[in-house]
Symmetry: C2
Subunit: 305 residues, 2 copies
């Protein structure tokens, strides 16, 4: 019996590192528990998780630790797409085997100007090798990073060939027109997530499923509330309020800003560590962040029960 | 006692796959032996090797197999740069430990618009973690693929901080002006390789060290001959002759064209297999390739002693 597909808000969970730049498991599990209590799904190993800076072995281990810690796999949408077919297959198979509700899959992003046929062959090979009825793939469109866009024609072809496995898409392009086109696709139960809550209300009104947004790492409850109340009279004002916080983080380098904010609210400056090539905020950027949070009168409700 | 740094011609060794898309070891070793007999160094795990499509475990295993097969590690410049610090460190350490004369290192290429300070921190961390006096890094500049260029300022800073480890660069940008600037850097024994033999004579006349070129997979001896005879009267005509073959391959998708040509000359159509997202040539492209080779009266001297 398969689970229903994802909807609502998911956080691409940021990854804390210890002084040796190894994943800091206690801080990580705390954050995951807090996010799930706030009603957010856990898109671990996403762009904002610095997943590209983690090894396959580290990702497999973190996945196991999450489950051992009692995190519900029904909340998990790990990012499993890499540049290499065997790695993508191994991580996707592991995630599916342990019951993750879905996986978020980048296209292979090293080679550029690859054809739709080549991408179709790649995703087909992954699906065939994983060979698990439960596999639910959310494709990950983030062309400003991958430089490998996913075309509407490719999505239609994949969904037609693998309707039980192609579950949806995360659109991080930020292009409202592409989002509209995605929601216009005539596909059965294809879940469209926008990559930022700034397009959330628009997405929901078009029939979209929700958002998978970096800032859900600090503002999950309010984003979730818009998902629940998007048909209410105050929906536009809720969207407005979300936009203020989002804009603050978008003015700054997103990942270090998120980690700095979480470290501040949790009184754990270790959260500010990043793996190079990413670096922490400058002192000017920190000031801008903290002043901005104050201006917005924003506090993270960090209590973990 | 350390080996001298690389010079001359190296081939980014193409990787044959069997029917299961696993590396075809016998065909691989044959090709590596033939290349070395032709006087080419072996830049295994490069772009044209489909290294991005190989897992870390596969690369570690192929490296071990090359050594077990008696390939001289003094010929080897494996590509070891990945997006993830731990993977880059593991592969670089392994290559250095077994005596590879150098490694070719991409910058971490997932995140875009990273700062020079971030890249410096990354390469420093790799060097410090590998912690091996023999480590010789050739940086890999291929911005059309990585979208993460290496600036002259970064190169100077790295070479100043790690003169014993920063051995040179492969410049695959194809930009003659950048190549000229690289050769103008005042760095001690910094080896500049162009990424195509079409700039080889220009590079050598500027004081460059040679080339690491895709088409060295099929034309190594003639490219090497230009490296040896670049001060002779016939150097320009040698360059001209190299350009003809290079242009043919540049008109086609490079990697499948190389594999198709090698498969043809070795009478082993298995060579034509690629891992998706790359696909084989269309029948029109095959025709264009074979007609072009005939026009140039080009044959690969494939005999392996």
């Amino acid at each position: 019996m398969s689970m229903s597909r994802f909807e609502g808000v998911l956080a691409p969970v940021i990854t804390p590192f210890d002084a040796s730049l190894l994943p800091d498991l206690p801080a990580y599990l705390d954050h995951c528990r807090w996010l799930s209590e706030q009603g957010a799904g856990l898109a671990v190993f996403g762009t904002n998780s610095e997943a590209a800076s983690l090894s396959l072995a580290e990702k497999l281990n973190l996945l196991e630790q999450l489950l051992q810690a009692g995190i519900d796999p029904g909340l998990l949408m790990p990012g499993t797409g890499t540049t290499a077919l065997p790695d993508t297959v191994e991580l996707t198979a592991a995630a599916t085997r342990v019951g993750c509700r879905g996986v978020l899959m980048l296209p292979p992003y090293y080679f550029k100007n690859v054809s739709d046929d080549g991408l179709f062959a790649y995703f087909s090979e992954v699906i065939n090798r994983v060979a698990d009825d439960r596999l639910q793939i959310y494709l990950y469109h983030i062309p400003q990073i991958t430089q490998v866009p996913l075309s509407l024609a490719l999505l239609e072809k994949l969904a037609a060939a693998y309707p039980n496995h192609i579950a949806g898409i995360k659109d991080s392009s930020g292009d409202p027109e592409f989002l509209r086109q995605l929601n216009g696709l005539e596909l059965t139960d294809f879940r469209v997530f926008c990559g930022s809550e700034s397009l959330l209300l628009e997405n929901l009104r078009q029939g979209g499923a929700g958002c998978i947004s970096a800032t859900a790492n600090i503002n999950p409850a309010a984003i979730r509330a818009l998902c629940q109340h998007w048909q209410d009279a105050d929906a536009d004002s809720r969207q407005q309020q979300l936009n203020g916080l989002r804009k603050l983080f978008q003015r700054l380098p997103m990942i270090p800003a998120l980690k700095t904010a979480v470290g501040r609210y949790r009184s754990n400056p270790g959260w500010e560590r990043l793996r190079p090539p990413l670096l922490g905020l400058t002192s000017e950027q920190r000031q801008e962040l903290f002043a901005g949070l104050l201006d917005l009168d924003f506090r993270i409700p960090v209590d973990v029960t």
